[in-house]
Each structure stands twice: as C-alpha cells, then as structure tokens.
C-alpha cells in the first residue's frame, strides 16, 4: 500500500470518527428564521428564463480578457449612458403632485358613447376611444398619466384602464356594476374607487386595484355618490354612509377596508349630507348639511366653521374645495326659486361673492375647479352648454367642448 493510499484511507476513517452526523439543537432556530424571511421572486433568477447556454457561455468560453479594451469600452459606455440619461431627463415629462394646484392639461369628456379630449387653450379635439362600445365617465389619474372610463352595456358597466392618450385600453376583469359613478383615482394611481346606486337611495363602494386588476366591495352602505381620497397620501376615503335612518360621514381605509363612522356635528338626515372635498393637508373637510349651510369640519376637534353666503339669509349646498384649499365654491339660493354659484374663503373670514349668473331653474351640481383654480366649469342646465366661471366674479366664458356629462380635467406639472 502506498503512502498516499494509506493517508487517504486514514483521512476517510478519521472523518468518519470525528464527524458523526447528529441533528443539531439549532434546527428550529433556522426554521423560525427562514419562516420570517421571504423568498426571492422566481423572475429575479436569470437561470429560470434564460437558456443555460447563455448563462454558462462566459464560463465555458474562457479566453484572456483584454482589460485595457474593456476599460476603454466601459468608460465610453459610461459617457454614453450619462449623455442618454441627461437627454432623457430633459425630455421626461414632469408630473404634478396628486393634490394642490397644478397646470391645466387636456379635458376628457364623452359624447355619444365615445371619449374625446380637447385642449382648452387651443380648442383642438381628438377622439381617444371610439367604436361600437358605449364608453363614458373618463377620469384622468391625479398625475395625469392614465385614464379610466366606464364601458357600459345596458345599465351595467365595467372599468377600462388606458394611457392618458387612450392607448392600451385594458378592461378590469370584473362582474359588471349597475349605475356606477365615474372612477375616482387614489393619489398613488394604484387604486380606483367607484360608487354604485343600488336602488335610487343607497349604494355601494368598490375599490379596484389597478395593478393586481382586482375589485372588492367595501362593507358600507353609501348615501351619496361622492367619494373623496384623503390627502396627502390617500390613506382613507370619505363617503357618506347610511346609518339606520340617517346619514353620517365615514372614513374607509383602503388598506384593511376598515370603516369608521364619524359623529357628524350637524345634519344627519338621510340625503342631507354631501361631502365637498378635503383641504390640502387632509385635516379639514367641507360638507353641506341639511341645515342649508356649508360647514368646514376640522379634525382637530374644534367647532365647524360655517361659510358665509353672499347674502346673509341665503342657503348653500354642494360645496367644492379649490385645489389649493383656499376657497370653496358652492351653490347658493334664496327663498325664491333662484340659484347661483358663490365662492368664499375657506376660513370664512369674509362672505362669499357671486360668480355666476342667477338662474331661475335648478342648476347642475357637478361643477368643478380647473387644476390651476383659475376657472370653475359649470353646466347650468342638464345637457346644456358649459360655462367657465371666473372665481373672482369676472365675466364667464364658453369652453370649446360640449359634453354629455361631467368632464375630467387633466392635471399637469405646474
């Protein structure tokens, strides 16, 4: 027997003696540790989706590496990458914040079952979504990059997601909903809330996850068709909830679907409450109550601020915060069958001023501020012509669009 043979044999024997396998006492520690940690997603392993020949190519074709050439190429590549990044950065579209004043973009609207955009500055129109399907209710995401709309058959609708220019439309896989409101985007653009009118009196709230492409119903009975994501991060949504025979505002968490019904200081009659949006910091909330006044509720617990109408004895309703949170537009009416729109400071420091003509018939309630807060779009009569109001009370103008319903104004970076 050679020395090597003997050493090999002795090593084998020695290993066998000194390392008898026994289950160590820390096995459970390891399992506890791994149970708490996550696995790498499958797609992050190139071996899973690249042929092995590609992965092992570098290993099996080993040749001397020309480091100097590689270095020069690397420097050249780096320079090109920096140049490309600078160019892309200069070309990249800046996005507006989800809340607050922004620059005015396009206006999306539906007409005759198709969706169009118009540039309010130039009046240039463009058909975004056309065809046999009945499409309506377009809503731009708060960063202006995406569009959601309703595709309706009979009275049942599904949500369709698309790029802001109408390209790449993708229907959300969902059971159709009946009598559904226009989509309301979350600040991060991931979720969409919609309300349904279930029986002409109460409705339901649904939240759609646009990335997972799932839809879920929240356990709350709604009393109104307005849903408001709470600034600055959309951690809650405000809806009007039907509670027994009355109505209360309710905060809904989109994370765990928890519903928190708020004690409303004024007006709990069903149909008597209407939300009007949040202040920029998410601390104040404007609403109309059945007492005929517009209130600003502060979540710090202080008493409601009551907005002063333009005439002391008048009543107000259907308020909307401006994007910058400094003003509130609302419908004002007197005992006569006349109504108009007024704008007041949100701290109620001064009475409101009238900003529209006086109408002798009921006017539309879905008026809204432009992203830059310079105009308020109003449809005075259902199906009639739009007017653009000056919040400072100047002369109204006529917009270059005619729509079947409430339009959506795209937000752009200021």
């Amino acid at each position: 027997m050679s020395t090597t043979d003997r050493i090999e044999r002795d090593i084998t024997a020695w290993f066998g003696e000194t390392a008898a396998p026994a289950t160590p006492d820390y096995t459970d520690d390891i399992l506890r540790q791994t149970a708490r940690s996550r696995q790498r997603p499958r797609w992050t392993f190139p071996e899973r989706w690249l042929p092995m020949s590609v992965i092992t190519f570098g290993r099996v074709n080993l040749r001397p590496v020309p480091w100097r050439a590689v270095g020069l190429l690397a420097v050249l590549g780096l320079l090109l990458a920096v140049a490309a990044a600078l160019y892309a950065g200069s070309q990249q579209q800046r996005l507006p914040p989800p809340f607050g004043a922004a620059a005015n973009g396009l206006v999306a609207y539906s007409k005759g079952g198709d969706i169009y955009t118009v540039d309010p500055a130039t009046g240039a129109r463009r058909a975004l979504v056309t065809g046999a399907a009945v499409d309506a209710g377009p809503a731009f995401s708060l960063d202006g990059t995406r569009l959601a709309f309703l595709r309706t058959t009979g009275t049942a609708s599904i949500i369709v997601l698309a790029d802001a220019d109408g390209r790449n439309p993708v229907p959300v896989p969902m059971a159709p909903l009946t009598n559904v409101s226009a989509p309301s985007w979350s600040p991060d653009g991931r979720s969409i809330a919609v309300l349904t009118d279930d029986n002409g009196d109460t409705g339901s709230l649904f939240i759609i996850d646009t990335e997972a492409r799932t839809i879920r119903k929240i356990n709350v009975v709604t009393d109104d068709n307005v849903v408001e994501w709470r600034p600055p991060d959309g951690r809650q949504l405000m809806v009007t909830a039907r509670v027994s025979r009355g109505a209360r505002f309710a905060l809904v968490s989109p994370v765990n679907d928890r519903v928190e019904v708020l004690p409303t200081p004024v007006g709990e009659a069903a149909g008597g409450l209407r939300s009007g949006g949040w202040s920029l910091d998410g601390r104040r909330f404007v609403y109309a109550a059945s007492d005929g006044q517009v209130h600003v509720l502060d979540f710090d617990g202080s008493p409601d601020v009551v907005i002063k109408p333009s005439l002391p004895q008048d009543q107000g309703g259907y308020p909307r915060f401006s994007n910058d949170g400094l003003h509130i537009v609302f419908m004002e009416w007197s005992t006569d069958p006349q109504s108009w729109l007024s704008v007041a400071p949100s701290d109620a420091s001064t009475p409101a001023i009238r900003v529209s003509a006086i109408y002798s018939v009921a006017i539309g309630t879905h008026y809204h501020w432009s992203p830059d807060d310079t105009v308020i779009a109003l449809e005075p009569q259902f199906g009639g012509a739009r007017v653009l109001l000056d919040p400072a009370g100047g002369r109204p103008s006529t917009p270059p669009w005619m729509t079947d319903e409430v339009e959506s104004w795209q937000r752009r970076a200021p």
């Binding site: 050493i7 084998t12 003696e17 396998p21 499958r42 392993f45």
Partner: protein
Amino acid sequence: MNQRDLVERAGRGDHDAFAVLVRGSIARLEAVARLILRDPELARDAVQEAFIRAWRDLPGLRDPDKIDAWLHRLTVNACLDVARRRRRRAIEVELTPLSPQSVGDSTGLVLDRDQLERGFRRLSADLRAILVLHYYVGMTVPMVAKTLDLPLGTAQSRLARALAVMRDTLGADAEPGQSAMPKEGLA
C-alpha cells in the same frame, strides 16, 4: 411525498416542505461544516447561513434532483465565507473523543489522529472542503468540481495539493526535533 416534490413545493414558498428538507439534511451538512471549520460555533454560523440562503434562493433552483449537491455547495461556500471573516481569529479545535473501536484498531493503519489533526489544520479552508467532499461525503472528483463550481483540473490539483500537505505534515511529525505545530489557524 418524494424529495423532488418537497423541493418543488418549497421552491413555491411552502415552508413546511422546506422544514422537511432541512431536517433530512442538516445533520449531514453540519458534519461537513464542522470538519471544514473545526469549530462547532463557526459550523453553526455556516449551516444557518447556508439554509437561510437556501430558503431565499430555492425558487431559482432549476433541477430539483440536484438539491443535495446544491445544499453542499451552499454549505461549503458559507464555510469559506465564515473562515474568511474569522481569518485572523484563533480557531478552537473540538476534541471529539475517539470511539473505542477506533482506538483499538489492531491493523495499525490509522495514523495518530493528532497528526491528522495537525496536518488538516495546516490546510486552507478551500483545500479542506475538497478533502471533506471527496473523502467524507464520498463525491467523485468531477462531482466535487461541479459542486464547488471549479474546473475539473483545478479540483484535481487542489486535491493533490491537500494530500501533499497532509503527507508532508505526517512525514515531518515522524522526524524527531521538528515542530508539528501549525503555523497559523485557518487561512
């Protein structure tokens, strides 16, 4: 359920299946780590590290039938990492008692285990790993090369070098007046 099913289930996030795999292999891998590192605490660190990495990267294992070789590779790599981190630290050598049968080996072929210990401690961790995989786990040299992701020639030359160091140490021990103490701990 066979091992292949367990591996596939564990790779899809089934931690119970992973636990079965761990319990079925940890004793063997711990022994490998103890042999390479010659220190129970370091071996524990290495085995923990190897299994944590195994759980994390299991979804990337293409061939479930290669789980054993893969786990050995993770363990050896973890041992090398641990050894590198503790390069300058003195290594405690665990003195496991010999079994009575070995002590009384009448053939006289088993060399004095202190000599073997000294020779083995002179080896760097990667050379120890080659010896352990080949002589303890029983892998062929091509299997060792594949497991450690080495070219076959490199594995062969490292094995030869490891054996040469062992042989030199044992030869030196046999010569009177020469120190048999290792020059340093783990490389």
